[in-house]
Symmetry: C2
Subunit: 202 residues, 2 copies
DNA sequence: TTTGTGTTGTGAAAAAAATAACAGTCACGA
DNA sequence: TCGTGACTGTTATTTTTTTCACAACACAAA
């Protein structure tokens, strides 16, 4: 149910804009989705709309937040403080969501000491201990591909339950209850490339 | 057909490892997918396997590359040279795919002049012209959310055919033949959060 | 040669998702 | 008060995707 997450964020925006109620059609318009789909997704949450009139922004937002646990903020971390890792660490603090960046890791101890950051940084070998201590639940992996699997294992050992793997390496989570998203920029651009090719070949 | 893109990259790796043939089962194992699915995807390309024995790595790779246009490299650019944009610009050069980074854009002219980069940098208002001149087909958008739609319009005006929007803003492509992928890190982490919540609520 | 194992490609069945259709409800204005 | 228009939630239909099953084929060993 990825769409509901988008809806949730849109509702935050609408609330900031001072919007009090919205219809599924309006939501669909802003998210480029059709309203049928959204209504079906929302109905999965339960009955939260006003029959005949749209949804109360605040109420719908709260309902989704509760069901999907987006109100609570989980502790997150970034492993691999290269350009991309650092950028994400900063970025995630500027665009907050259902998480709080609580730590950064890197195998290069020099980096740990030199880098300035608003979150505490630790050497990579401390991953299991620190993850457990800080109750970190989410992790973004931005290490070199060859190290991705090892890092993932350490994270899972520490008790992480969600992994966002941004390396081109395809990795596996050691435990089945751990959720893993592979998100490689190269792949995304390749996909677009493929779509364009298929389209123009018509 | 996102899976075929993954297969393609895996085939490159296998080729580097000196592997000559693979079976669909082996591919599936390395990609954490089941072989049925892969075979069906591959069959869409045409008959490229050896009945009874697996696939020749080189041949399969070429077949996919041809069909999906992954052999040719399209020119790409990054708009918005903040931390994330710069990181992606570098990152994309280190992890090459079916594209070549050919330009960077930012509205802050100071930045353009100060930053050092291996690709030429331009002020944002030149987007349509430069995109057309360099025949840029792909673009990564890493500007502040409020500027995302305008930037997208400029890019499309220049003739870009694939957009990778990494801002939380939901944008639309002005022309229908332009492919758009919305890829927001916050959303990805929120999704993981939601999955964890739903899972633990069972 | 023959037998057995492993493989591809494809067609059929099952599952999931998207789309459409509609009954029931409310708000508002005449 | 009554009708009109707009909306939700749910059911039905279609489409897409995934999963399963199997015939056709190659290769190695006996």
């Amino acid at each position: 149910m990825a769409r509901l997450c988008l809806v949730y964020r849109l509702l935050e925006e609408l609330q900031a804009e001072g919007c009090v109620t919205v219809s599924s059609t309006q939501l669909g318009e802003r998210l480029s989705m059709n309203s049928h789909n959204l209504r079906k997704d929302i109905s999965y949450i339960g009955e939260v709309g006003n029959w005949g009139a749209g949804y109360e922004v605040a109420r719908l937002k709260q309902a989704i937040g509760e069901k999907l646990g987006l109100a609570r903020r989980r502790a997150a971390c970034v492993v691999g403080l290269g350009d991309l890792g650092r950028a994400i660490l900063d970025h995630a603090q500027r665009h907050p969501g259902a998480f709080v960046m609580a730590a950064g890791f890197d195998s290069n101890i020099n980096k740990i000491e030199t880098l300035k950051s608003s979150v505490p940084l630790f050497p990579a070998y401390q991953i299991p201990e620190v993850v457990r201590r800080l109750r970190i639940e989410l992790a973004v992996i931005t290490v070199p591909p060859s190290a991705a699997q090892k890092v993932a294992d350490l994270l899972v050992e520490g008790g992480v339950c969600g992994l966002l793997n941004m390396t081109p390496a395809v990795i596996k989570a050691a435990r089945p209850e751990v959720f893993l998203t592979n998100l490689c920029l190269t792949d995304e651009l390749n996909m677009l490339s493929a779509l364009i090719t298929l389209n123009t070949k018509l």
